[in-house]
């Protein structure tokens, strides 16, 4: 079979010593990022992109490293949720509910073990699904012309706006702000400068890394500065051990949550946080009185932890097959790939099979590696929390400076980073979601190019954008995703909507 052959080639790439090392480093760094509060996966991935450029990594090695960090962070975020009741990432907030209860009852070891096994099973299942569905979707999408691509992006942005954040107007404004930023710099076709205010440094546009680090890392530091970092706490882990009974008891929950998480991960804008939340709620309802969710039920840990890892795998589908990232982290990966000369999209399966299949194979390897890494080393990771925040946070910031400076070797980018740090801080305060800004910035260029190509084909006839069946379907879906939540909320009570609509 084709897929098996391709997968075999992928493993050849993934098992090269360099790439094995990078999977290991990625998983390790990702887990650290996940464990340490204050550095999210987005900042973590953004900080390491300059490193992949500096090391002159091949595109497949670079994406393998970045993906390792991504799912490593998903994995590591649970540890502090369980032990300290402090979620390392937003995607493990729900894990605190039952996880910390279990820790208080002296079952921290079991909670950590189930989150490791749940993540492993979910991660492996989602890679399987990615492998089977990815090529199919790519084959279908390869017929997309500029008009369909434009419609696809509109659809992507509208689901993103509908799903990211509580207030849709704010998510929409964040997306539009990103699109607006993407138009700064030289116009790709006529070569004229737009919105540069005469600044030479803006001619090439705003670099996505500078914006990402400012928006996420710097504003995170400002938030922590205000809330004062949580005190370093000593936690006891005990033996990380799971009985077979506990495992089989949770297996159905893990499987259901994996599927749910994967589907949610595929949707643009949803992603791991929503997946973990939905999986928890669904399990809670499904099991009803047979479970004691909130009082230390092991399935209350299994559900969100499986779902968030499955979502990380699901998010790779739109990224690899359509070139449409669904989250801030995947947007950075897209940007990094583009900088390395690989344009994600349906052609990628044919033009860069090494990148796609190398990544898929490395995700299998990474999942196994995380399990091996996490079970014995949890105690060590937790001890890192004893590093005082007065050292940790300035150190992270110092590394961000290098990342930002290395983009163009220009201190101007540091100013830009500071500006976006303030913008990000204000946006967080006002409950504006940040990831859409990044997606708008990364995709804005492609969106404009496709619009203009479509118009060039049709000689300026706007109707061309709505002329093919695929495009029409995408436009209808885009409209539905924007207006359905508002319309539904008139009929359904708000509270119920939050759980079911997503």
């Amino acid at each position: 079979m084709d897929i098996l052959q391709a997968l075999a080639n992928g493993f050849e790439v993934a098992l090269q010593p360099v790439n094995l090392l990078l999977v290991f480093v990625g998983c390790l760094v990702g887990t650290l990022i996940g464990v340490l509060p204050g550095i999210g996966p987005i900042s973590g991935v953004a900080l390491l992109v300059p490193l992949t450029f500096a090391l002159k990594l091949t595109p497949e090695s670079a994406i393998i490293l970045l993906a390792g960090i991504y799912y490593g962070a998903m994995y590591g975020g649970s540890t502090t949720s369980i032990l300290l009741n402090i979620p390392g990432e937003t995607s493990s907030v729900v894990t605190t509910l039952d996880g910390n209860q279990m820790a208080r009852q002296g079952r921290a070891g079991a909670a950590l073990a189930i989150s490791a096994w749940g993540s492993f099973i979910a991660g492996t299942l989602s890679v399987l699904a990615l492998m089977l569905l990815g090529p199919l979707l790519a084959q279908w999408a390869i017929r997309f012309g500029p008009a369909e691509y434009f419609a696809l992006m509109v659809f992507g942005f509208s689901t993103l706006s509908a799903l990211a954040g509580k207030n849709m107007a704010k998510a929409l404004l964040a997306t539009l702000f990103g699109l607006l930023l993407s138009t700064v710099g030289q116009d790709p076709q006529s070569g004229m400068s737009r919105f540069t205010f005469g600044l030479l440094q803006l001619e090439d546009g705003m670099d996505f890394l500078v914006v990402a680090i400012g928006l996420f890392a710097v504003s995170e530091v400002l938030m922590i500065l205000q809330d004062k970092a949580p005190p370093a706490v000593q936690a006891t882990v005990g033996r990380v051990y799971l009985s077979l009974k506990e495992f089989t008891f949770s297996l159905l929950t893990i499987l259901r949550s994996s599927i749910l998480g994967f589907v949610i991960g595929v949707l643009p804008g949803a992603g791991a946080s929503i997946a973990s939340f939905v999986a928890y709620t669904v399990e809670k309802r499904l099991l009803g009185s047979r479970a004691r969710f909130g009082q230390g039920d092991i399935r209350g840990v299994a559900a969100p932890e499986s779902a968030n890892n499955a979502a990380a795998g699901g998010a790779m589908i739109p990224l690899l097959t359509l070139g449409l990232p669904g989250s801030g982290t995947t947007a950075i990966m897209l940007g990094a790939l583009v900088s390395l000369g690989v344009t994600p999209g349906p052609q990628m399966f044919q033009q860069h099979p090494n990148v796609v299949w190398g990544l898929i194979a490395s995700m299998y390897v990474g999942n196994a590696m995380l399990l091996l890494l996490n079970l014995p080393l949890v105690g060590l990771f937790v001890r890192l929390l004893a590093v005082p925040s007065w050292f940790l946070i300035p150190a992270v910031l110092a590394v961000s400076f290098i990342g930002v400076y290395a983009v163009n070797n220009n201190p101007f980018d540091l100013l830009l980073m500071t500006v976006f740090g303030l913008v990000g801080y204000v946006m967080r305060r006002l409950d504006f979601p940040l990831a859409p800004v990044l997606l708008g910035l990364v995709l804005g260029y492609l969106m404009e190019v496709n619009l203009r190509r479509a118009m060039a084909i049709s000689n300026g006839d706007v109707g061309f954008l709505f002329s093919s069946p695929i495009a029409i379907v995408l436009w209808v879906l885009a409209g539905l995703s924007l207006f359905a939540p508002t319309l539904l909320s008139r009929f359904v009570k708000r509270g119920a909507l939050g759980d079911d609509e997503i």
Partner: protein, 152 residues
Amino acid sequence: MSNPTHRTDRIVGVLLLLLSIAYGWTASRFEVGMLSDPVGPKPFPYLIAICTAVASLWLILRPDPDPQWPPVSFWLPLGLVLGSLVAYAYLLVPLGFIVVTTLEMALLAVLFGARWWQGLAAGLAFSLVVYFLFTAGLNVPLPAGKIWGLGR
């Protein structure tokens, strides 16, 4: 709905509305020469400007309750951090990575509750390690400091 506790979002909405107008107006003043494509560089910004205007009107009409703003005492550390970041950008090339990073880290460490000598020592140690790791190990050039006569 016009409860005073919804003021912040309305102000933000108005500011974004003004931004969209300014943005659209700037786009309208682009002087386009020979067109290589029928669209040109203007319409996409127009599209963004219109959508932003509509979305900000929506925000003005349906604002969230006001967020909790940080206490006035937080403005000082916030200003210090932002100001020091600006200073960092301007001083990086003249003074070099090691000096400015040490100072920046020391300042942040103090704001996060360390004593000044702890911050300074940790900052210097970390800056040195990172500087040599990146320049010598990874071939990422970092400014050594012009005033020390070290080029770049």
